[in-house]
């Protein structure tokens, strides 16, 4: 890490871009696996924001809490992936498809 220029603004910008990509992926993609991947991207955008601001405020009160939150999010992301993939698998088994178009039983 030494030698690189640490800029909070660039980190926040990167995190925002990642979050936007993830959100766009969820909204636009039909494939459920890809939607799950987009969700992972959004979670990691949040993670990036946490760790970069934790670094920035490492000496202040509550320093290190950001890293702790990042760890929690990783665990959460793993759980989410496991449950999400299981759901996708179940949907595929029951309906023969894994796209968002195929799962519209709640249509009004």
């Amino acid at each position: 890490m030494s030698g690189t220029v640490f800029s909070p603004a660039s980190c926040a910008m990167l995190a925002s871009v990642l979050f936007g990509i993830g959100a766009f992926g969820i909204v636009s993609r039909r494939n459920l696996i890809v939607v799950l991947v987009a969700i992972e991207i959004m979670l990691n955008a949040a993670n990036l924001a946490f760790v970069s601001f934790a670094r920035l405020h490492a000496d202040g009160p509550g320093g290190g809490l950001g890293q702790a939150a990042a760890l929690f999010i990783m665990a959460l992301a793993a759980a989410e992936a496991a449950v999400g993939l299981a759901i996708v698998l179940a949907i595929y088994r029951s309906r023969g498809t894994a796209t968002t178009d195929g799962v519209d039983v709640l249509r009004g």
Binding site: I26, V27, V35, T100, V103, D104, L106, R107, G108
Partner: protein
């Protein structure tokens, strides 16, 4: 403990009998029930005799305050029993005739399954009636009034297995309720005007404008709204028309004959139906203040007297004929009240209770002897088989007919003399320049006198059809031997009631039934002496202080008017009796059970009042049904359900359901959009932003 502390026992004895027979009737057995339910009224009667002799001696009022009854804010009603001269006269009649009819009932009902139930109700009635008579204030009187109405309902429908009987009970109850509403409104108005329910206090305030403290003798003026008195009197009269079977609420009384015959004698002839007369006499001082309302009362009374008498001319049911006669005689009493001859009305009430109860008891004996038959064209000739019954019935019928010197003549004459007195005193006055009231009362007097002829006609006709002529009951006597008999003769005109499981024929009248009938007939014969004793003006003099005297300070009718009225009454009665003698005895005419048509049918069906009420009731129901239908279909179903709430919700749903695409991507897009919106709001909000 003086007599004054014991008067509460007069109504309490029969009420105790009600509890005894009602709760422990099975354990007591028939003998025990008979003993309790006849013995307790005897005790009441003896106590009443004691009370009356005390009052007759001193003229004082005996009063017993049994404590607070209703207390709500300023309103306080106390449970006060009071015996003055008016209630004393009623006490003797109610307890005396009531006791006799209880004894009669032990014979009449002896084979009935509901023996204990019957006597429980009869005792309850007697206690309620005594309570009504002794009530010191209008609220307590209303309680008694309602209780006797309940007993009437229970006893009309006593043989409730038969649908017609149950319906007759309901009809009586409903028509009484219409009157009761008027009575209740009258009571409320009285309280509004006078600030008290107590009839003695109302009288004091109405007559003197205030209250005199009995201890200190200090007079305290009480402001009372006397302009309400005519309205009060009208409302109370509506109550009287219900209970005392006046036009237009009389239609329940002929149907009330569905009950056992002793009940018809006690409740629907002698006592309960006279409650309206008693109430008006009790408040006579209020009526005396409003000549206009009195004119209405008198007119209704005379019209009812005529209507009842005309209806009685063609009845073929032995009890219905008497019921129509009761309506007519009650009309006479109301006419007396309307003419201001309140004591004459009470006099007629007393004599009527004697002769009409006796007639009903004789009718019961005849019905019993014929195994339940009530159709007069199927009777006849009972004179030979039942001489004692015939004698009692003949004397009572002549008393009803108003043949001198029997009691009915004197009491009816007293009413007619009172009416004639109004004609003479009500000349043209400042308030009535045309002398309208005098003309009206003259018309009513003529109607009342003409009605005497009709009364005599139907009374003699009744005796002739039941007791004289040939025995036409051969088929019925044949059925008697068959055990339980349920005879139904005539197309619904007369229906056998109850269970006659006995087979004894005519001529073997049980003493328990014959003795009360004969005793009442004896009283009907000598009841005229009430006009002479006790000394000092007879019953009228006895009641002088208790009811309002002649209205407007009118002088007593002259001796000439008295003799004229008496001669006219006697002549009319003899004329009617002779006509009936000619038609039904000399020529032996026997009417058909149901008249074919024409004027006879109009009389037979009581001027079709029932049909009119049925039609009017049906019209009202149809109107109500149409109204309900319109409200339900158009307002509720149509406007509210289909258009406003239901339709609106459905249309909103139609719009909103388009947002529910079921596609995850759309939901996610909305979520993102929402999140951005929240962010924008946070940034733009005052004090927000980075």
């Amino acid at each position: 403990m003086g007599l004054g502390d014991l008067i509460f026992l007069i109504p309490m004895f029969p009420l105790a009998g009600f509890l005894l027979s009602g709760l422990a009737g099975g354990a007591l057995g028939r003998r025990g029930v008979s003993l309790a339910s006849c013995g307790l009224p005897v005790l009441s009667f003896l106590l009443a005799v004691g009370v009356v002799s005390r009052i007759a001696g001193s003229g004082a009022t005996i009063e017993q305050d049994l404590g607070r009854w209703i207390s709500a804010g300023l309103l306080e009603a106390r449970f006060v029993l009071r015996a003055d001269r008016l209630s004393a006269a009623m006490l003797l009649v109610v307890a005396g005739v009531g006791t006799l009819i209880h004894i009669y009932s032990t014979g009449y009902m002896r084979h009935d399954r509901g023996y204990a139930r019957y006597f429980a109700f009869l005792n309850l009635f007697l206690g309620s009636m005594l309570l009504l008579v002794m009530a010191g204030d209008l609220l307590l009187m209303f309680a008694g009034w309602e209780m006797v109405g309940l007993c009437s309902y229970l006893l009309i429908g006593f043989w409730y297995e038969k649908d017609a009987n149950a319906r007759a009970g309901m009809k009586a109850f409903v028509f009484n309720r219409i009157g009761d509403l008027g009575f209740l409104v009258g009571i409320f108005l009285t309280y509004y005007a006078f600030g008290t329910f107590d009839s003695a206090r109302i009288r004091e305030i109405a007559c003197t404008g205030g209250v005199t403290d009995p201890v200190t003798g200090l007079f305290r003026a009480v402001p009372a709204d006397l302009s309400l008195v005519p309205l009060i009197c009208l409302c109370l009269f509506v109550g009287a028309t219900g209970k005392s079977a006046q036009i237009p609420l009389f239609v329940w009384l002929p149907d009330a004959m569905a009950g056992p015959t002793p009940v018809s004698a006690l409740i629907h002839a002698a006592t309960m139906v006279t409650a309206g007369i008693y109430m008006m006499a009790r408040l006579s001082f209020l009526y005396a203040m409003t000549p206009e309302v009195m004119a209405v009362v008198a007119t209704v009374g005379a019209a009812t007297a005529l209507l009842g008498a005309i209806a009685a001319l063609t009845q073929t049911d032995i009890k219905k004929a008497l019921a129509c006669s009761t309506i007519s005689q009650l009309g006479y009493m109301v006419l007396g009240c309307g003419a201001g001859a309140f004591s004459a009305s009470i006099f007629h009430l007393v004599t009527h209770s004697f002769f009409k109860a006796a007639l009903f008891l004789c009718a019961g004996l005849a019905i019993h002897a014929l195994g339940g038959m009530q159709d007069m064209p199927g009777m006849g000739g009972l004179r030979r088989r039942m001489p004692w019954t015939y004698g009692a019935a003949a004397i009572s019928a002549l008393a009803l007919a108003g043949i001198p010197p029997l009691s009915g003549f004197f009491s009816k004459d007293a009413i007619l003399v009172g009416t004639l007195g109004r004609v003479m005193s009500d000349g043209p006055s400042p308030g009535d320049p045309g002398g309208f009231l005098a003309i009206l009362y003259a018309g009513l007097y003529i109607a009342g006198t003409a009605c005497e002829a009709l009364t005599a006609f139907y009374a003699v006709r009744w005796v002739a059809l039941v007791f004289l002529g040939e025995d036409r009951s051969a088929p019925a006597t044949g059925m008697e031997a068959g055990g339980a008999v349920a005879v139904s003769v005539g197309a619904g005109a007369s229906v056998a009631r109850g269970s006659y499981e006995h087979g004894e024929g005519a001529g073997k009248e049980p003493a328990t039934m014959l003795a009360p009938a004969v005793a009442l007939a004896f009283l009907a014969a000598i009841g005229s002496t009430l006009a002479m004793i006790p000394a000092g003006g007879g019953l009228t003099g006895f009641l002088a202080g208790a009811v309002a005297g002649p209205v407007g300070g009118a002088a007593e009718p002259s001796a000439g008017a008295n003799y004229f009225a008496a001669a006219a009454s006697a002549a009319m009665a003899c004329l009617g009796a002779l006509a009936a003698w000619f038609v039904y005895i000399r020529r032996g005419h026997v009417p058909a059970s149901v008249p074919a048509g024409g004027l006879r049918a109009v009389s037979f069906r009581l001027f079709h009042f029932d049909a009119v009420y049925d039609a009017a009731g049906a019209a009202v129901l149809r109107l109500a049904r149409g109204l309900c239908l319109a409200v339900d279909r158009i307002l509720l179903d149509g406007l509210l359900v289909r258009e406003a709430f239901g339709g609106g919700a459905r249309r909103l749903g139609e719009i909103l359901r388009r947002t529910q695409t079921g596609t995850v991507n759309a939901y996610a897009a909305l979520m993102v959009f929402g999140a951005i919106l929240i962010l924008v709001c946070l940034v733009l909000a005052p004090g927000g932003g980075p």
